[in-house]
Amino acid sequence: MNVTFLYFEDCPSYDVALERLRLVMAEEGIEADVEVIKVETEEQAHSLQFIGSPTIRVNGQDIDPPDAATPYRLTCRAYQLEDGRISPLPSAGMIRRRLQSQDR
């Protein structure tokens, strides 16, 4: 399994999101390394197809696939949680579901 964590430093919660990812991976018994990529320029955002911070990909798949029209940019990302609220962070459940769907 390949896990990638992309972030933009100006968005303050990336460390919390990374910790949440590592915790869920540990709970699921997934020992894969997490590739952490700091996205620093708009050009890099385009080349990495980065829609916002934080972005977590499992085997290249975003844990919360964006609409095709979502622009690539250095920005903070909005996740819609299970209860409908908006959060700057993906939920543990969102992370877990993607990990479980790929870990077959």
Binding site: A78, I86, P88
Partner: protein, 177 residues
Amino acid sequence: MAKLKIGDKAIPFALPGVDGEEHSLGDYADNEAVVVFFSCNHCPYVMAWEDRMVQVQADYADKNVQLIAISANDAQKYPADSFAKMKERAQAKGFNFPYLYDETQEVARYYGSERTPEFFVFDKKGVLRYHGAMDDNYDNPQAVTRQYLRDALDAVLAAQTPGVAETPPVGCTIKWK
């Protein structure tokens, strides 16, 4: 950090609101406290907190407290932050406070605001008494342990000094032109 420091006087402004009216800081000179906060549409931190913003205004309206939201983001790069979209957001979320557009970004620069949301609480004399975040948990309203904004308002309304005068604002950076 803000160019405004605790103890400084509020900087006047006059900005267009989504209600079609121009709003000046002086319009609120008779309020017991005024909360100027820099906000926007697209930022997920704002979106996580905005129901709580509406609730604070509702809870403190009868105490003559006025919240005023200002968006200064570059709408060319962030179309979701356009004035038209601001009107839509205010209507959709039932904003019970003015939502103003700082198109030139001058007010945001004068205040020294860097993030959205970022709160400035002024007492009835227009003196800055609290600056920073709304509370200590953007992610989960049920897990908030420190109500910085509410505590500051309670102190200001009681003519007391807020126990916590300043916290680092948490949110997206203001999108400068």
